[in-house]
C-alpha cells in the first residue's frame, strides 16, 4: 500500500511538472532570455499582452511577453499631472533630462506602458499602476525578435558593410497577425514601410508603398510615412497613413503583398505648416473615427464614413471643390498632444503639453468622438 501511495504521489508530481512545463510554453515561438534592446523608439501591443518594441538603434522589432493578461473591460480615467516630473523622480533624475518616446495601452489589462529615454540615450520601459511607476524588466523574459536592417540588393553584396543605413522607426502597429512599421531615414528622402508576420519567421514581407498626390495628378513615391493606423471601411481593412509632407493616404491592407507596389489614395491634405505626430482609430457606437495629433494644429477627428464615401472617386485628380481640404474633418478643442492611444472603447489617453509648460497624461472621453 505504501508502495502504491508512493507511485501515485510520484505520478502526480510528474503530471504537475508536465503541466508546469506546458504553462511556460509560449505559443508565439518566444524564448527566455535578455533581448539586446538598445533603444525604444515605438511601442504597440499585440495579442495576449505581447508588446512590440521598435528599436531604431539595433534596427529590430522585439516582441516581449509582458505576462500582463488579466482582462479589464474598462479603464479608469487617467489624470496624472506633471507625468514627466513623476517619471523623472522615479528614475532619479530631473524632467528636463528625460523624454517620453511613446505610450501604449495594453488592450487586455488597460494598463499604460511608457517608453522613456534618458539624456544619455538609455531607454527604459515603465508601467503605470494608477500613479505608481514600475519598471518593466527586459531581463530574463520571453521574447522574439525580427531584424529590419536593410537587406542590400543582390548586386550590393560586396558592399554590405556600407549599405547599413540609419533610420528612425516613426510608428509601429499590430493588426491581425502582422506587425507594421514605418521608418524615416536620417539621410535620403525615402519610404520604408514593412509588414512583418507575427509570430516572427525568417521570411519578411516588405511592401513598398506608392502615394498618389491627387492634388496635382502626379504619382509620387518614396515619401516617408510619419504615422499610421488601421481602419475598416466598407468591410475592408485599410492602412491609413500620414506623411511628412502632410497628405492622408489610404492603402488596402490586402494589397500589401511582398514586392508589390501599392498605390495609395490621397483623401486629404490637412497640414500646411504642420506635421502629423500620432494617429489612432476609435470606434464609438456605430461610428468609427480617425484621431490625429499634430505638431502645430489641434487634434483632428475624421469620421471614417466620410472617407468611405470617397471610395472609387479619388483615383482621378481631386476636383477644385476638394482641393482645399480633401475629406471633411473636425478640429477638436485639444491642442499640443504629443502621444495618443486608445484606453478603452470610450476613452483615449493623451500625453499633452499644457500652456503653462506642464506635461500631463489625461483622458479624452467619447464626448469628443461620438
Amino acid at each position: 500500500m505504501k508502495k502504491l501511495f508512493y507511485l501515485v504521489a510520484m505520478s502526480m508530481i510528474f503530471v504537475l511538472f508536465i503541466a508546469a512545463d506546458r504553462s511556460s510554453t509560449n505559443p508565439y515561438g518566444m524564448k527566455k532570455g535578455t533581448p539586446g534592446i538598445r533603444s525604444i523608439s515605438a511601442l504597440a501591443f499585440g495579442p495576449d499582452g505581447i508588446l512590440f518594441i521598435g528599436d531604431s538603434k539595433s534596427a529590430s522589432v522585439f516582441a516581449i511577453d509582458t505576462k500582463d493578461k488579466i482582462a479589464a473591460d474598462k479603464a479608469a480615467t487617467v489624470e496624472i499631472k506633471n507625468i514627466d516630473v513623476k517619471i523623472a523622480a522615479a528614475l532619479g533624475t530631473e524632467a528636463k533630462n528625460i523624454r517620453i518616446k511613446d505610450i501604449a495601452v495594453n488592450p487586455v489589462s488597460k494598463k499604460i506602458y511608457c517608453a522613456v529615454e534618458n539624456m544619455d540615450g538609455t531607454s527604459v520601459l515603465l508601467k503605470l499602476e494608477g500613479e505608481t511607476i514600475q519598471e518593466v524588466s527586459l531581463k530574463d523574459i520571453e521574447f522574439s525578435a525580427s531584424s529590419i536592417a536593410n537587406v542590400p540588393a543582390e548586386d550590393q553584396k560586396d558592399n554590405r558593410g556600407r549599405s547599413l543605413r540609419e533610420s528612425v522607426i516613426s510608428d509601429l502597429s499590430y493588426d491581425n497577425g502582422n506587425v507594421m512599421l514605418s521608418g524615416i531615414s536620417n539621410q535620403e528622402f525615402s519610404s520604408a514601410f514593412r509588414v512583418i508576420p507575427f509570430p516572427f519567421t525568417d521570411k519578411q514581407q516588405h511592401s513598398s508603398l506608392e502615394i498618389y498626390h491627387a492634388a496635382h495628378g502626379k504619382y509620387e513615391t518614396n515619401s516617408p510615412i510619419r504615422t499610421f493606423t488601421i481602419a475598416t471601411l466598407n468591410g475592408k481593412k485599410y492602412l491609413v497613413a500620414s506623411y511628412t509632407c502632410t497628405p492622408l493616404v489610404l492603402f488596402p491592407m490586402d494589397e500589401l503583398q511582398p514586392g508589390k507596389h501599392v498605390k495609395g489614395r490621397t483623401v486629404g491634405e490637412f497640414g500646411a505648416g504642420n506635421s502629423p505626430i500620432d494617429m489612432i482609430t476609435v470606434t464609438s457606437k456605430d461610428n468609427s473615427y480617425l484621431m490625429m495629433a499634430n505638431s502645430s494644429r489641434p487634434v483632428m477627428r475624421v469620421n471614417y464614413k466620410k472617407i468611405a464615401t470617397y471610395e472609387g472617386s479619388l483615383t482621378e485628380p481631386i476636383k477644385e471643390s476638394f482641393s482645399t481640404a480633401g475629406v471633411d474633418f473636425v478640429t477638436l478643442p485639444v491642442v499640443s498632444v504629443l502621444q495618443m492611444d486608445k484606453l478603452d472603447d470610450t476613452k483615449v489617453l493623451i500625453l499633452q503639453r499644457k500652456s503653462n509648460g506642464d506635461l500631463d497624461l489625461s483622458t479624452l472621453t467619447d464626448r469628443l468622438f461620438s
Partner: protein
C-alpha cells in the same frame, strides 16, 4: 579652476555626509556609501552593511530607499548583496551633478553627490551644405555637433531668417532625426512646401525663394546630453539660387585615375555639389573581380569632390566605381529619380547601383 581647487572639488563631491540614526538602527560604522562607476556613468551605489544592521535581509528592498534629494518617491532599481553590503543599481545611471539621499526605515541616513560631468562645452562643428549659394529647392541641412546633444524640441533652437528681417515660420519638419550618437541632426525643409501644388506649397509657398538672402541661426540655448549649453550661436548665411531639377549624373563626373603599384588617391569630381553625408556612404570601389577595394573615403567641405585612399597599392586592371542610387543632390534628386516625379513622363526603371569603370594608369 586650478589643480588644488579641482582636487578639493573632487574630494568634496565624493564626501559622504552622515546623519544620526533616529530609528532603531545601531551606531553607524566607519564605512561610507560609495559610488560604483562604469566609464563616466555612476551606475550603482554600495551601502555598507553597518547602515542596515537592524534591517532583516528580506526587507532591504522595502526599508532601504534611495531618493533624489528633496524628492518624495524612491528611485526604481535593483538590489543585490555582495559580502554583506547592498548594491543598489538604478535603472538609469545616477545623473551627474545631482545629489541623492539614502533612507533606512524612512530616516535620512546619508547624502551622496554625483560628481558633475565633463564640462567641455559643446559646439556646432559643421553645417552642411557649407556653400553660400544653395538651390531654392534645397531639401535638408545637416548640423554636426562636437558632443552628443539632448533630443527633443530641436526647432526651438533653430531659426531661418530671410533678408535679415523676417524669421520664417513652419519651414522645417519637426522630426528630430539624429544619428545614433546624437551628434548629427538632419533638418528637413518641409517637403510639402517644396513640392509644387501640394497644399502647404500653395498656402505658404516654398521655404526658400530664389534671389533672397537667408540666415540659418542655431541658438546657444541648446543642451547637450550632459545638460551643458552650446558655447555660442552659430549662423550660416546663404543666398538662394535657381531650382535644381536635374538628377545627379555619374557619367559627368571627372575621375582622376591613380597609378598602378602606388597608393595614390583616386579623385572623383562631381559636376555639382551633392549631399555630403550620402556621398560619404554611397560610393565604393571594386576591382576587376568585383571585390571591394578597401580604403578610406573622404568628401571635401564643398561636397563636390571625393577622395579615395586605398589601403594597399592599386592593381593594374579595370576598376569600378559603385554608386548607390540613393545618392542625392542638394534638392533631394537622386540617381534614380527626381524629388518631384512627374509620372506623365516615362520613368526609367530603378537601378539601385550605378557604375563607372576606370583603369589604373
Amino acid at each position: 579652476m586650478n589643480n588644488y581647487r579641482k582636487t578639493g572639488f573632487c574630494i568634496l563631491c565624493s564626501l559622504v555626509f552622515y546623519f544620526t540614526f533616529t530609528g532603531c538602527t545601531e551606531k553607524k560604522g566607519s564605512d561610507t556609501v560609495s559610488i560604483q562607476w562604469e566609464g563616466d556613468k555612476a551606475v550603482a551605489i554600495i551601502v555598507p552593511q553597518q547602515f542596515l544592521s537592524s534591517v532583516p535581509k528580506d526587507s532591504v528592498t522595502e526599508l532601504l530607499q534611495i531618493r533624489l534629494a528633496n524628492a518624495d518617491q524612491p528611485v526604481i532599481g535593483d538590489y543585490s548583496f555582495k559580502d554583506g553590503d547592498i548594491i543598489f543599481k538604478p535603472i538609469i545611471a545616477f545623473t551627474r551633478g545631482l545629489k541623492y539621499h539614502v533612507y533606512v526605515r524612512n530616516n535620512l541616513v546619508d547624502e551622496i553627490a554625483i560628481q558633475a560631468a565633463d564640462t567641455t562645452v559643446p559646439r556646432v562643428v559643421a553645417v552642411y551644405p557649407v556653400l553660400d549659394t544653395l538651390p531654392e529647392n534645397l531639401l535638408k541641412f545637416y548640423i554636426l555637433f562636437s558632443k552628443p546633444m539632448q533630443e527633443g524640441d530641436e526647432l526651438k533652437h533653430i531659426h531661418l531668417i530671410k533678408d535679415g528681417r523676417d524669421t520664417l515660420p513652419f519651414v522645417f519638419l519637426d522630426l528630430g532625426l539624429w544619428n545614433h550618437e546624437r551628434t548629427m541632426l538632419t533638418l528637413w525643409l518641409d517637403p510639402g512646401r517644396i513640392k509644387r501644388e501640394l497644399q502647404p506649397n500653395k498656402l505658404l509657398g516654398p521655404p526658400l525663394i530664389k534671389g533672397s538672402h537667408y540666415q540659418l541661426l542655431i541658438e546657444k540655448d541648446w543642451q547637450d546630453a550632459e545638460g551643458i549649453l552650446l558655447a555660442e550661436d552659430r549662423a550660416k548665411n546663404f543666398f538662394a539660387s535657381s531650382r535644381d531639377s536635374v538628377s545627379p549624373d555619374e557619367k559627368k563626373w571627372a575621375i582622376n585615375t591613380p597609378k598602378a603599384g602606388t597608393k595614390e588617391q583616386l579623385v572623383i569630381k562631381f559636376n555639382e555639389p551633392l549631399d555630403h553625408v550620402l556621398a560619404e556612404r554611397t560610393i565604393s570601389v571594386t576591382d576587376a573581380n568585383g571585390n571591394e577595394v578597401k580604403g578610406k573615403l573622404n568628401v571635401n567641405e564643398h561636397s563636390d569632390v571625393v577622395y579615395f585612399l586605398p589601403a594597399s597599392e592599386w592593381k593594374r586592371e579595370m576598376h569600378s566605381l559603385q554608386i548607390e542610387s540613393r545618392l542625392e543632390d542638394l534638392a533631394g534628386n537622386n540617381l534614380d529619380r527626381l524629388f518631384e516625379v512627374d509620372l506623365n513622363k516615362k520613368q526609367e526603371p530603378p537601378k539601385n547601383i550605378y557604375k563607372r569603370q576606370f583603369e589604373t594608369r
